[in-house]
């Protein structure tokens, strides 16, 4: 069983510790962990988060097309298994830096309030972004989730820094960072990979390879794929089916165990397909319809739903519950006021200690003990 309480935040000895120099070998490995077990309640939760993500995003597209959402709207239809499966493997003290454009599921798993998310999208006053940012640019610091910036993959470097701090303080926690196939091209990606691998930082680097960076296919993005490149940076590169939520969960769980054991980072390449344009403004005319048709057969929700239905899960009740919560959240968000314009320039500088990263939900029963959730 995993212990989720962070270790003392007391710093290391004055001499510190070289991460893996010959005179300071890494700590002995514990016995290999038992493979993660998912209870029926876990499986229902995985499905519920994926359904919640898609249901909300369908409504989000509608709100955008009705002109109620300023700016733009981006969704992750077809990619729900990745952010849900990965975040589900995390413990409460782990940090996500940062969920990206198709990763609403990570926010939902961590427990961020849906009404706040909708308020954020609508530009209403909200606790997540206070109206300063829109669409996919939000985090929930109180739940250990830091919002993305548009300069991909900048936050991957920051995640390595968070992991570095965890290691230096001997804390039992990891940082998870998401990035797309297109984000493997800028220099910051290589710097993050090099430092993470070199220093064995406890970070999970999750590549969502959905085949397209805006309109540019991976054939015109890189000669060598992310998982293969991982080896060159001194870490395993694991390829998983990004449409299989349990596969993503298992790969993330294994990467987390590896990081907690002091063995450093893992790159997970979750392969999937972006089932629509880059955003609501993009009709994806550059994609062969036959490709969409083939991938639609592998829809992560439909396939998982069929399996769980066959195993006796009351999927209809699950869906009805999601719809009910979504409708209440949308109505609450639409009733919320816009932010006070006088606050626009507040807080450029911190005039005292800032907020600190909080703990997120960790709904997997394995975090609470093998018997939980049964």
């Amino acid at each position: 069983m995993l212990t989720e309480e962070p270790r003392s935040t007391a710093s290391s000895s004055p001499r510190g510790r070289a991460p893996h120099s010959p005179e300071h070998p890494p700590p002995p490995r514990p016995a290999p962990p038992a493979p993660p077990r998912l209870t029926a309640a876990d499986r229902a939760a995985l499905l519920r988060f994926m359904v919640e993500m898609r249901t909300f995003e369908e409504r989000g597209v509608a709100l955008y097309k009705q002109g109620r959402t300023p700016g733009s709207f981006y969704d992750g239809h077809g990619q729900e298994a990745i952010s849900v499966g990965a975040a589900f493997a995390l413990g409460p003290d782990d940090v996500i830096c940062s969920p990206l454009i198709r990763d609403l599921g990570a926010h939902l798993v961590r427990g961020t309030d849906l009404a706040q998310i909708i308020r954020h999208h609508l530009g209403r006053d909200n606790a997540l972004s206070r109206g300063r940012e829109g669409n996919v640019h939000f985090g929930d610091v109180d739940r250990g989730v830091i919002g993305m910036v548009s300069m991909l993959p900048d936050m991957m470097v920051v995640a390595v820094g968070l992991a570095m701090a965890f290691r230096m303080r001997r804390e039992r926690r990891v940082a998870l960072t998401f990035f797309g196939d297109g984000a493997t091209s800028p220099g910051a990606w290589h710097e993050a990979m090099n430092v993470a691998g070199l220093r064995r930082e406890p970070v999970i680097l999750l590549c969502e390879n959905n085949g397209l960076a805006y309109s540019t296919p991976t054939e015109r993005q890189f000669a060598v794929g992310p998982a293969e490149r991982a080896k060159a940076y001194g870490m395993p590169g694991v390829v998983v089916d990004g449409n299989d939520v349990e596969a993503v969960f298992a790969a993330t769980h294994a990467a987390r165990e590896r990081a907690l054991a002091g063995d450093g980072p893992t790159l997970i390449e979750a392969r999937t397909m972006r089932m629509h344009g880059h955003g609501s403004h993009d009709d994806a005319r550059y994609v062969d319809p036959a490709v969409f048709a083939a991938w639609r057969e592998r829809d992560p929700i439909a396939t998982y739903e069929a399996r769980l239905r066959a195993e006796g899960t009351d999927v209809d009740a699950l869906r009805a519950g999601v719809l009910e919560r979504l409708e209440a959240a949308v109505q609450a968000a639409l009733a919320a006021p816009l932010p006070d314009p006088a606050t626009a320039t507040d807080g450029v500088f911190a005039d005292g200690p800032g907020r600190t990263l909080g703990r997120g939900d960790a709904p997997w029963s394995g975090h609470a003990g093998p018997e939980a959730g049964r």
């Binding site: 000895s13 070289a18 470097v157 920051v158 820094g161």
Partner: protein
Amino acid sequence: MTYLQAITDGLREAMRADERVFVLGEDVGAFGGAFKATEGLYDEFGADRVQDFPIAESAIVGTAVGAAIAGLRPVAEVQFADFVACGFDQLVNVAGKMHWRTGLAVPMVLRLPSGGGFAGGPYHSQNPEAWFMHAPGLKVLAPSTPEDAKGMLMAAIADENPVCFLEHKHLYRRVKGAVPLGDHRTPFTARVAREGAELTIVAYGAMVHAALQAADAFEPGRVEVLDLRALVPLDEEAILASVRRTSKVLIVDEANETCAAGAQVAALVADRAFSDLDGPVRRVATPDAPVPFSPGLEQAVLPTPDRIAEAARELLAY
């Protein structure tokens, strides 16, 4: 103590007082840094708190941001201030906006050995402070004396915001002065380096010394030298108070002239002290060209005491 020793002393004191403080950068470990600013720290504090990084400025700045929001207090060194351009994005788009976006404090310091005057050429002589003045959320400091180098560095490490700390390479071993022992913090406000009644020369960093030399060309009591010390926050009241006393202002920048820190000072004075002026707002700065290598060429572009004195003479006679 030299300006350089004052920086090392400030780092050591801060690291002794607060175990969250650590140093990272290229060659800062056992080697002690390209300029020896971190000499002795590795022996005292070890590899975790004095971290040698690969040549990767995005990684140096970005991991410092991550460590800072996790609750540590990183002090990152960019080997030459010029190289900060390679980590610019992390500084401007990630560090500077973090608190405004998320409410998380980013208590980190980026040490930037800057400036010319030693035949460093176009890639080792830059003064990038204006880049960061233009980016919301970054504090920008430029000490001119050993006492301030230590005091402002320790105050920067204690600050909750990302701080660009421009330490001037030309001053490292040339400037000496008394430095208080132990914990010493200097506020981010301007300082009157020399009092005068007829003209204010506004300067910061190495240009404070050039301005003081220029002021020597005039009778005592005529030329005031105001050392800004901090560019963000800019001590507007101290600038306006001095200019209102003297009625004339000359602003000196070692950086390229267009949109330099001094341009902001000039705009401030024109906007808020126009009726107190008895002459035009004048500036002396490096022309908008890279800093050349050959000593004669370099001296041709950098503001010198002679050039500053000449501009001061014209203004005093105006």
